[in-house]
């Protein structure tokens, strides 16, 4: 069921069109990737969702209802341009953000301490913000957004500047949210994260929705008919393959003829008695799709 639905959103800044009728849904309990090059209109769309700016036209529905300010307590937001009150302590800032989402003071304090532990920073609770390193500050910001356990949360580039260990930590938190039925919109330029985490994506370019759907479907849609095979001996010539390109170490990239499916190739290889250890249809990486869409859009 859709927890968020954008309906024909149009927004302009002066003569610049930021969004030209964008429509898509985000389902409950999924991690949804919001993709697009810089200036595509992602931030504008997120700000419209958060009622920070108003669209020129179009509708936003959340949890099955037209979005109102009352819904904000159920939403979380980590903006791209973000920061914290530098002169205050970590726990005070987290409590304030929690209280703004409707938590009582004691509950906000309890959750702040709990979340600091979860992001492996329990010792910084009483530190002033300006004492934190960039990575620490980033984790505190993420914890401050997640401590109210928002039903729908938008995270704009949450892992920028984090080391691989902390990137994994944040990814685990998002996966856990999905397990708990919470919805996360992940706006990022890191396509490996999209492949690893996202269930579905929407790619916006120049204010238009260019790609929308399940990650696997999108990758398949944009993939060339190609499979990767690891074989112990040279491969026999089989009908559904138009070309076999050696890739070193017994790996072969097999180009499929028009209309052929990977299953046809696998069947033909087995019938021909090929000694294969590994067979994998090659899906286009999200990064390639991103490049292609942006380049085609610009053309």
């Amino acid at each position: 069921m859709a927890v968020l639905a954008f309906g024909d959103i149009v927004k302009s800044y002066g003569t610049t069109m930021a969004l030209r009728g964008v429509s898509f849904d985000v389902n409950g309990g999924e991690i949804f990737g919001l993709l697009g090059p810089n200036g595509a209109g992602k931030s504008t769309l997120i700000r419209i969702l958060m009622d920070i700016i108003r669209p020129d036209s179009g509708q936003v529905r959340v949890f099955g209802e037209p979005r109102t300010r009352a819904h904000l307590d159920r939403l979380g937001y980590l903006p791209e341009e973000r920061g914290l009150y530098t002169k205050l302590t970590v726990v005070d800032v987290m409590m304030y953000f929690g209280a703004l989402k409707g938590l009582t003071r004691p509950e906000a304090r309890r959750r702040a301490i709990e979340w600091l532990t979860r992001v492996e920073l329990p010792h910084v609770a009483s530190w002033k913000i300006d004492r934190l390193s960039k990575g620490m500050s980033q984790k505190v910001q993420i914890a401050a957004v997640l401590l109210s356990d928002p039903e729908l949360c938008v995270l704009d580039e949450p892992t920028t500047g984090l080391d691989p260990v902390n990137v994994r930590l944040v990814q685990d938190l998002l996966v856990e949210r999905r397990r708990n039925g919470r919805t996360t919109i992940l706006s990022t330029h890191q396509m490996n994260q999209v492949e690893a985490l996202c269930d579905r994506v929407a790619l916006i370019h120049q204010g238009r929705l260019m790609v929308y759907g399940a990650v696997h479907d999108v990758r398949r849609r944009y993939s060339r008919p190609e499979v990767l095979v690891h074989a112990r001996a040279p491969l026999p010539e089989i009908p559904p393959v138009s070309d076999a390109i050696p890739d070193g170490d017994g790996k072969w990239r097999l180009m499929l003829e028009d209309g052929a499916a990977p299953a046809d190739v696998l069947g033909a290889l087995v019938r021909a008695g090929a000694a294969i250890d590994h067979f994998e249809p090659i899906l286009a990486p999200m990064e390639d799709i991103f490049f292609r869409v942006v380049r085609e859009g610009q053309a």
Partner: protein, 442 residues
């Protein structure tokens, strides 16, 4: 979470953040200490000057007209203090201090047989000056006055005291004692009354007049001080959010009106607390204003005092929201303060027009200003204080209504400007402000 709770959350956060700042604590408690030290430094020379002044100045008198019949050093009369002032001083237990203060005469008049002797004494600086009454003084009234060849600011007082001495000498033995006393002190004391438009008698003593003017004046000063002090905190609060990049997080949790109201209450509260602490320190600092007023039986302008608190708060919200809204359009603290300056000047308008208002407290200017949102609050207090009967109840009601509606509109406008200003990295153009303001209302 309901709207008022969110406003309260923001207000509490802003208030506690502001009052915990070292700068705030230093200003709040350090300023009175600094002012006391400053006053001490300024008062020190004045204290020594007063002590020197307590030693009476000696003036010579050469009485060729034989009017005074001085038989040695003659002190001048002690200064006359109005009876009502004496009574008030007595009620607050300071009569003895006043008595001690007035024990010593200010001048001593010393007789000399000849002008030459007096001149020698003056040249030797044993005299401040001397007066010569020529033989034809009674006929012509001309007195020769000789002084040191340097500036003497007490010269006029000495002449006045000598004139009193002369009056006494001229009538002594020539008129009955009582009549003689009236000639010397024709206005020994006074009882003042004022008649209202309804023919009622009210107290019109000097003290009552002072209180009537002081109430609106104190209101205006405090109000202006609060607006100016608080504007700094309001500007700083907005600039901090822009600098720390927490604006979007806030706007994703509360609407601009809630943020603006919360900031106004929290930071405004911090500013008002500061002014209140200063007031308490002044009142509690031994100046004895309250006991003096409590015991003086002066008819207090109770209506003005009762209206002061609600009017103060509404007017504060009016100016605060506009200052916060316009100030948020600035791209930095300096620009924000420049933009908000116009509202500080508006708040100071009644103060700047005080002289004109005092001449005609219920004239056309006062009446018009009563209905202007920028001046309504101080004008109601002013008019209710100076002449309650001349202020119609409907004028108070209409003025209150105008101020409340204006404040509501100001908060709405302030919130829209605030939303536009918070998200803008540089000062937005007027067309963009209007466009965004229009969109945010839809």
């Amino acid at each position: 979470m309901n709207r008022s709770r969110k406003v309260w959350t923001i207000a509490t956060f802003e208030f506690l953040t502001a009052v915990k700042r070292p700068g705030y604590l230093i200003t709040t408690f350090g300023m009175p200490v600094f002012m006391a030290l400053y006053a001490g430094v300024v008062a020190l020379p004045a204290y020594f000057a007063t002590r020197a002044a307590r030693e009476a100045s000696v003036y010579g008198v050469v009485d060729d007209a034989r009017v005074l019949d001085l038989r040695g050093d003659t002190p001048s009369e002690r200064p006359q203090i109005p009876e009502e002032v004496k009574r008030m001083v007595d009620r607050v237990g300071q009569a003895r201090a006043l008595e001690e203060e007035l024990t010593n005469a200010e001048f001593i008049f010393r007789p000399f047989a000849s002008e030459a002797e007096a001149r020698t004494a003056l040249a030797n600086r044993t005299l401040k000056g001397y007066f010569v009454l020529p033989r034809d003084y009674v006929e012509k009234g001309v007195v020769d006055v000789y002084t040191q060849d340097q500036i003497n600011l007490a010269g006029d007082s000495a002449r006045g005291a000598f004139a009193d001495l002369l009056r006494e000498g001229l009538v002594k033995g020539r008129l009955a004692d009582q009549l003689s006393d009236r000639v010397v002190h024709p206005l020994k004391d006074e009882r003042s009354f004022s008649v209202t438009r309804t023919g009622e008698l009210v107290d019109s003593s000097v003290t009552a007049e002072v209180v009537r003017v002081a109430v609106p004046l104190v209101f205006m000063v405090l109000f202006l001080l609060s607006v100016l002090m608080t504007s700094g905190y309001l500007m700083q609060g907005t600039a901090t959010e822009k600098e720390n990049k927490v604006v979007e997080v806030l706007l994703a949790s509360a609407d601009p009106e809630q943020i603006l109201s919360g900031k106004l209450l929290g930071l405004g509260g911090a500013g008002l607390l500061q002014v209140a602490v200063w007031m308490l320190l002044v009142v509690g600092g031994g100046f004895g204003i309250v006991p003096l007023l409590m015991t003086s039986n002066i008819e207090m302008p109770w209506l003005a005092l009762a209206l002061a608190i609600p009017l103060f708060l509404i007017a504060f919200l009016f100016f605060g929201s506009l200052m916060l809204g316009t100030g948020s359009l600035g791209s930095n603290m300096r620009e924000a303060q420049q933009l908000a300056m116009v509202w500080s000047l508006m708040a100071a308008l009644p103060m700047m027009m005080m002289a004109a208002l005092l001449r005609e407290p219920h004239g056309i200017v006062s009446r018009v200003m009563t209905f202007l949102p920028v001046s309504a609050a101080p004008l109601i207090i002013f008019r209710a204080s100076t002449d309650r009967a001349a202020l119609a109840w409907w004028e108070v009601a209409v003025s209150f209504a105008i101020l409340m509606i204006s404040t509501w509109i100001a908060i709405r406008i302030g919130a829209r400007l605030f939303r536009v200003g918070l998200l803008a990295s540089s000062r937005p153009k007027l067309r963009e402000i209007l466009r965004q303001a229009r969109l945010s209302s839809s």
